[in-house]
């Protein structure tokens, strides 16, 4: 017989919660968002066989780390909702509380709150190896008796204690008998009135409801109940900040006594970890060496995402080209074949190509997070970035954005404040990513003379550098602007723990990477494939007989005659829906110096900016996708403006185009990822509009100035 149980893991940040979760579930886990918010919801499952022969199927939810049940940030809302609201879909049968044994006092604070909820709970005291090493003994029997719940010593890294925990989970534990502290003493009338009004397990749940009446989802379907309770609160003049403070102080008072009883420091040795941490911090947080080392680390990350990722990306690219050829040859010619090869396979290729960068970036980020270094980065960078509405941790997304905005935006999750995370996500795509490079390279070689100053400094190189700088300035400027526009959903705190340095847990890092890739493929990937198909339809089909005619000519043309082939391909693109749209938007983009040919490229390169080069080669009949940039360049150089008869690609148009590509949100993959990370289409659309307007205005101004 199989019995099902729901278990929640809850604990302070840095208590080893994720390690325990990974231990219990292995790879049987998935990440989604909690309904309505972009807070990661990690769920997993495991099976426990009991001695009586029946199997237990356990669904585990890993709740975001929190110090108390009082929600102050978006993330802390979740443990509160899940544990205090019995109607919540994740409300557990058993709550497993993970405590950091080296900081038992603070860990017991959250634990004591959960005990008072009066539902089955187990306390796991983690990091026992360090506790023992520092010469401290914990009387677990006493602790368990005082708390009224089972207590299990553990070392989650090595898996010590896991089996005891599994047995405890299925042992049908009873609810704690006594209140740890009776919160009814603080507001007897309120607690009693609420308990009369709604059926509840404990005084503490009533007290929590009183404190968080506006936040708790419990009454979302019963607004009249909520109003009724608010009326009670008003009647008794209930002040929740006084109440919470009294509760906190009372809890710590009782906990202090308890800790004195159960903790025995036999021969207290100053913890090695702390001494080591202090020494390392003297170097890593040094006012000069600290920044120097951080810069070096950033440089390595940048190299990895930019250069090391290049060869696996090349392999992915080749694999998809190979597959396209195979599929193309295996299926009879026709629309279905084209859709499969040029729409779906191309789209899938466009998704898979990001995986090397995501894997590399998250390997680094996970290591930096897991060792405790990221908290230091935050600490060192806070003052610089705060004035731009960003967070110390925004550095990683911004720098990674120079390689690619997609993994960069995924990495913004480590920013705890929603507003700072959002601003980071919104401005990161302004950093010049590697997909802009081919566009810049083509345009610079077209309009910037190959001058050398002092024999070594090339003008073309300077312009490229200027474009990167412009991207960075635009990102910071926009952040500053958004700081005043974006409304904060919560108050921003910087108060956080700086954990001791620890060796990275490679398994955790492995899981993080697998999760990130999975999320990207399944959540952003489907949008990318869908848009890729739409773009394929636009550029491969067109209305009327003229399009059909060119298409059939192209199909029957002599494959050896590349000139005719290229000419027909260009004609086909001109007559396609993309071509028609390109011509339709010509009046809009004309003030920027763009013609309809550029218009087509603007539309097709929404798939990815570098597609600009490929589209230009098709339009200028260079043909093929492995076109020679030099040939496109020659053709574009020779291009004359229809009206003026002067070269179309002069300095003004070149700069106008470059600025347009620097600022416009020409990337469907980024938009798909922003949607996933912000939970709706609202922000990617605002971002699209904002970047579009910025691009249009800057291109317009530079074009006017230069022409």
């Amino acid at each position: 017989m199989i019995k099902r149980l729901k278990v929640s893991l809850v604990g302070n940040p840095n208590s080893g919660k994720s390690t325990l979760f990974n231990r219990l579930t292995g790879l049987n886990q998935k990440i989604a968002n909690f309904p309505g918010v972009t807070v990661e919801k990690k769920t997993g499952s495991m099976t426990i066989g009991s001695s009586d022969g029946s199997d237990y199927h356990i669904d585990i939810t890993d709740l975001p780390g929190t110090y108390s049940l009082y929600p102050k940030t978006l993330e802390e809302q979740i443990p509160f909702q899940v544990l205090c609201d019995p109607t919540n879909e994740s409300h557990p049968d058993v709550t497993v509380i993970i405590a950091d044994g080296t900081n038992l006092k603070r860990s017991l604070f959250l634990c004591s709150q959960i005990v008072d909820l009066k539902s089955p709970a187990i306390l796991v005291v983690n990091m026992m190896d360090q506790v023992t090493k520092s010469g401290v003994e914990i009387n677990f029997i006493r602790l368990s008796k005082e708390l009224g719940i089972p207590v299990i010593p553990m070392n989650a890294r090595d898996g010590d204690g896991i089996d005891f925990l599994k047995n405890a989970i299925i042992s049908n534990i009873s609810v704690p008998e006594n209140d740890f502290i009776d919160t009814a003493l603080f507001a007897p009338e309120v607690v009693q009135s609420i308990r009369q009004s709604v059926k509840l397990n404990s005084n503490y749940v009533a007290f929590q409801i009183a404190n968080n009446i506006d936040q708790i989802s419990f009454f979302n379907d019963r607004q009249e109940r909520r109003a009724q309770i608010k009326e009670i609160l008003n009647r008794y003049g209930f002040d929740h900040s006084i109440m919470q403070a009294s509760e906190t102080l009372k809890r710590y008072e009782v906990i202090s006594l308890l800790v004195k009883q159960v903790l025995k420091a036999k021969n207290a040795i100053p913890s090695k970890e702390k001494t080591f941490t202090r020494k390392l911090d003297n170097l890593l947080m040094h006012r000069f060496w600290g920044y120097f080392i951080f810069l070096a680390i950033l440089f390595v990350i940048f190299q990895a995402v930019f250069a090391w990722a290049a060869w696996p990306m090349e392999m992915v690219d080749q694999a998809f080209t190979w597959m396209s050829i195979k599929v193309h040859d295996a299926i009879p010619e026709g629309v279905f074949n084209d859709l499969l090869v040029e729409g779906i396979l191309a789209g899938l290729g466009g998704v898979v190509i990001f995986i090397p960068q995501i894997v590399l970036l998250f390997t680094f980020i996970a290591i930096l997070e897991d060792t405790g270094y990221m908290a230091r980065v935050s600490f060192m960078m806070d003052k610089l970035l705060r004035r731009f509405g960003l967070n110390g941790r925004s550095v990683i997304p911004l720098i990674s954005g120079v390689a690619c905005a997609v993994p960069a935006i995924l990495s913004a999750r480590t920013i705890a404040s929603w507003k700072e995370r959002l601003i980071t996500i919104l401005v990161t795509p302004l950093m010049s990513c590697s997909a802009r490079l081919p566009v810049y390279a083509l345009l610079i070689s077209l309009v910037v003379p190959d001058h050398k100053y002092l024999g070594v400094i090339g003008l073309q190189g300077l312009v490229l550098f200027a474009l990167y700088l412009i991207g960075f300035i635009a990102a910071m400027g926009s952040a500053l602007l958004m700081k005043f526009i974006v409304k904060a959903k919560e108050r921003s705190y910087f108060i956080m723990e700086i954990p001791v340095y620890r060796m990275p847990r490679w398994k955790n890092i492995g899981y993080t990477i697998v999760e990130k890739v999975r999320v990207f493929i399944f959540e952003a990937g489907k949008v990318i494939v869908a848009i890729s198909v739409v773009l394929w339809v636009l550029s491969s089909s067109g209305p009327g007989a003229a399009f059909k005619d060119v298409k059939s000519q192209l199909e029957t043309a002599d494959p050896a005659d590349t000139e005719l082939q290229n000419h027909l391909a260009a004609e086909k693109l001109r007559l396609s829906y993309a071509g028609i749209t390109g011509r339709a938007i010509e009046p809009i983009i004309e003030p920027l110096g763009f013609d309809w040919k550029i218009g087509i490229a603007l539309i097709t390169s929404f798939a990815a900016r570098e597609v600009f080069v490929g589209t230009m080669s098709t339009i200028y009949s260079v043909g093929g996708s492995d076109e020679d940039i030099a040939t496109v360049r020659e053709k574009m150089m020779a291009e004359k403006n229809d009206k003026t008869g002067l070269p179309q690609y002069n300095l003004a148009v070149g700069w106008s185009l470059m600025l347009f590509y620097a600022f416009a949100m020409q990337c469907m993959s980024t938009m798909a990822v922003v949607r996933r990370e912000t939970g709706s289409w609202k922000w990617p659309l605002i971002q699209f509009a904002f970047m579009g307007v910025l691009a249009y205005i800057s291109s317009f101004i530079i074009y006017r100035i230069l022409s």
């Binding site: 603070r106 919470q244 910087f494 956080m496 700086i498």
Partner: protein, 79 residues
Amino acid sequence: MRGDFKKLSEIKLGESAVIESFTDDTMKLKLLEMGCLPGEVVTVTRFAPFGDPMAIAVADSMLSLRMSEAANVLVSVRS
């Protein structure tokens, strides 16, 4: 004997003080739950290179907070 009352943000590097009270209610709750209780000894262990934020050692852990946040914590220095 109780010494002078000061803001936590005024404490110098390496000095210790005792937490007395808080002047901001929300901040108070956040700090309380992280173990910054009245009566606990705090030691200023580090300042970020630009003088802000600060790192403090309190009750077995190291916390970081901005100077503006630390200005809401009143401490007493025992002479």
